[in-house]
């Protein structure tokens, strides 16, 4: 089932196009990455989907139709610009925010207590937000976005400002939610995290869709189709010359990178090599999401 669908959506502010004809869909139970450089339109896209702003054209469907009041209650949102009531007591604020998602007061209190305990923040429940450290505030904000057990969780830069331990905790939570069949939309700059966590991604640049698909698929697509090989015996290098269909060989420290000719797969080359010599290690080289990100953005700005 599509949890979310964008169809030819455009939005402009004061004659400046922020989102240009973007289409994509998010499936239930996946972690969907929303990537792109600063100013690419990620936050605008999230606000469009939350019906905070209206699109100029195109159609947005959430849970199969236009976003309803009930639909909003099933979404959890962690905005990039973090905001909490500074002078309100932690517990009161969490309960209020959950009540705005139609959670009854009692249930909101119980949920808040359980979550505060699991994030080791329970002892601070009577404090005001301004008394907490920045990192704790970040965790509280994350907590407030999941307090009402949403089916769709939208996290805008959830790891910014977190220490490694907290990052690990939040990451574990995100995976846990995915395994429970919930859907997570993750907007981030941190390509390493996106590569590890996301099932599929959408990359925006200047308001346009530049990449869209599974992480594995995109990496393969952008792969240079080369093979890293480490031989047991250095002398085996000559063997390469005996294999047909090799375009180029690049020597690195202790290993070689083999580029086959177009139309010949790295698998065929590998089979030939194994038949002829002993191989310690081999690796199909795929570019990281980070490399693809930089390459895509740079090639776009070079146009």
């Amino acid at each position: 089932m599509h949890v979310l669908e964008f169809e030819g959506v455009s939005k402009s502010f004061a004659e400046k196009n922020v989102i240009r004809d973007v289409s994509f869909s998010v499936e239930q139970g996946e972690i969907f990455g929303l990537l792109g450089p600063n100013g690419a339109g990620k936050t605008t896209l999230i606000r469009l989907l939350l019906d905070i702003i209206k699109p100029d054209s195109g159609e947005i469907r959430v849970f199969g139709g236009p976003l309803t009041a009930d639909g909003k209650n099933r979404i959890g949102y962690l905005p990039e610009e973090r905001g909490l009531y500074r002078k309100t007591k932690l517990m009161d604020m969490l309960v209020y925010l959950a009540q705005l998602k139609n959670v009854p007061k009692k249930e909101a209190q119980t949920n808040a207590e359980v979550l505060l305990k699991s994030l080791e923040l329970y002892e601070h429940r009577g404090k005001r937000v301004e008394e907490l450290s920045k990192g704790m505030q970040q965790k509280i904000q994350f907590l407030s976005s999941i307090l009402h057990n949403p089916e769709l969780i939208i996290l805008d830069e959830p790891f910014s400002g977190l220490d490694p331990v907290s990052t690990k905790t939040i990451k574990a939570r995100i995976l846990e939610y995915r395994n429970e069949g919930r859907t997570v939309i993750l907007s981030t700059h941190m390509m390493e995290q996106a590569q590890k966590l996301c099932d599929r991604i959408l990359m925006l640049n200047k308001g346009q869709r530049v990449l869209y698909g599974t992480v594995a698929g995109i990496r393969k697509e952008h792969g240079k189709n080369s093979l890293f090989v480490e031989f047991a015996d250095k002398g085996s290098l000559n063997v390469i010359g005996e294999i047909p269909g090799i375009k180029r060989v690049a020597e690195h420290e202790g290993s070689v990178e083999i580029f086959p000719e177009d139309g010949i797969s790295t698998q065929e080359v590998l089979q030939e090599l194994i038949r002829k010599t002993e191989i310690l290690r081999f690796e199909q080289m795929l570019p990281s999401l980070n490399d693809i990100f930089i390459e895509t953005v740079e090639s776009a700005s070079g146009e």
């Binding site: 939350l50 909003k72 905005p79 905001g83």
Partner: protein
């Protein structure tokens, strides 16, 4: 889009509870009237206790023509309607000032008077009092001495009636010719009611409207400044937030005005000879509600457009100044309630609630004018709410440079499409 969904009530309850627990609110609501009450009541309590002692006053009459009574009863001055405290002044005659001085030093008398020989020419009487110890307040004694002087000089020369007239020459009575041609006597209580009450109600109305809509302005600007607005908007619509806030803070304002009015009624029975008519109370509530709706929705729009709390308060100040106009023209409103400027002020939505209420307190206002002012206010509220909720939608999440007037006008038009 239902305007009064459950979320509206959640927002309303949150805003209500948050505000009534603020220190500023508790201070303004409870300490402020106590403070005012203290100012009005304490002086009258003080003055009624000081002059209550009986006194002995010595005198030396060098003209030989003064006819001091043995004692006289002096009415103490009191501001309240309580029974005026009286004190008895006993006069003791001395021949020499040295005798009188001795008596003063020994405490037999609290002060003594010397009527000099040339009194007829100068009108001077000297009063000597010891530095310590209470003496008769001289302004009281002066009035009594005038009467004694008039008695002594004229007693056998004129009629008793003339004597009384000289003591109390003119007694001005004020008559108002009403619309129906009847004249009515205006007593002190009515003058107080006519001038004091409109001013007090107008003042209270102004204060409660602006403290309540001020909370709203501050709330919106804070939520925008600390970026929680985006979270709220992902849960509720701008209209739900706006109506919830206005309902919650409107209830706060009603609570405040109720506390103040009951304080006035309680104090009124005690210190002010004023009756408050139920009709005026009812209209005060109506005008509070409408005035509050008008200004609070405007404040919400201002809070949405401006970038920070400080900036929003500056912009809001301009409108508050416009609304304070009736307080500046209060004298005109009370003395000439039917002049064109006052009629205009009582119809103009920025000033109508405060002006109209003062006019109703001061004089009879034609019914059609009250109805017209309510109608205009009602239509304006509708317009302001529409404009504000559009601004809410467009600007609530925009930060940085405040948009210019032209840009705002365009967004109001565009958001309506």
């Amino acid at each position: 889009m239902s305007k009064f969904s459950g979320k509206t009530f959640i927002v309303a309850r949150h805003e209500f509870l948050k505000t009534i627990l603020r220190k500023e609110f508790l201070f303004m609501t409870f300490v402020f009237p106590l403070f005012i009450a203290a100012i009005t009541i304490i002086p009258s309590l003080l003055s009624s206790t000081t002059a209550a002692e009986d006194q002995r006053v010595g005198y030396i009459d060098m003209t030989g023509s003064f006819d001091f009574p043995k004692s006289l009863t002096s009415e103490g001055f009191s501001a309240g309607p309580m029974e005026a405290k009286t004190s008895i002044i006993e006069f003791v005659r001395y021949e020499e000032s040295s005798e009188a001085r001795k008596a003063l030093e020994s405490g037999q008398i609290s002060s003594y008077l010397i009527v000099p020989e040339n009194f007829i020419k100068t009108g001077e009487i000297e009063l000597y009092a010891s530095e310590k110890g209470a003496s008769v307040p001289d302004f009281e004694l002066s009035a009594e001495l005038s009467n004694i002087a008039i008695d002594s000089l004229l007693k056998d020369n004129v009629d008793e009636a003339v004597l009384q007239r000289v003591k109390d020459p003119v007694n001005l009575k004020l008559y108002n010719i009403g619309d129906n041609g009847e004249s009515s006597e205006q007593g002190m209580a009515e003058i107080l009611a006519d001038f004091g009450l409109p001013f007090i109600t107008a003042f209270l109305l102004f204060f409660s409207i602006f403290s309540a809509s001020g909370y709203l302005l501050r709330g919106v600007a804070e939520e925008k400044e600390n970026r929680i607005m985006e979270v709220l908007l992902s849960s509720a619509t701008p209209v739900e937030l706006l109506t919830g806030k206005i309902m919650g803070l409107g209830t706060v304002g009603l609570l405040q005005i109720a506390v103040w009015l009951s304080a006035i009624i309680l104090a009124g029975g005690y210190a002010l000879p004023v009756k408050i008519e139920p009709m005026l109370l009812f209209l005060a509530l109506i005008y509070f509600l409408l005035g509050f709706l008008f200004f609070s929705s405007m404040m919400a729009g201002i809070g949405a457009v401006t970038g920070s709390l400080q900036e929003s308060q500056q912009v809001a100040g301009i409108f508050t100044f416009a609304a304070a106009f009736p307080l500046i023209f209060m004298q005109l409103i009370i003395t000439k309630p039917d002049s064109p400027l006052v009629v205009f002020l009582s119809l103009f939505p920025f000033t109508s609630s405060v002006t109209m209420l003062s006019r109703i307190g001061a004089s009879e206002v034609p019914f059609y004018q009250v109805a017209a002012s309510l109608f205009i206010l009602f239509v304006s509220i509708h317009a302001v709410i529409i404009i504000s909720s559009r601004l809410f939608r467009v600007y609530l999440l925009m930060y940085g440079k405040r948009p210019g007037v032209k840009e705002i006008m365009r967004s109001i038009r565009e958001a309506g499409r």
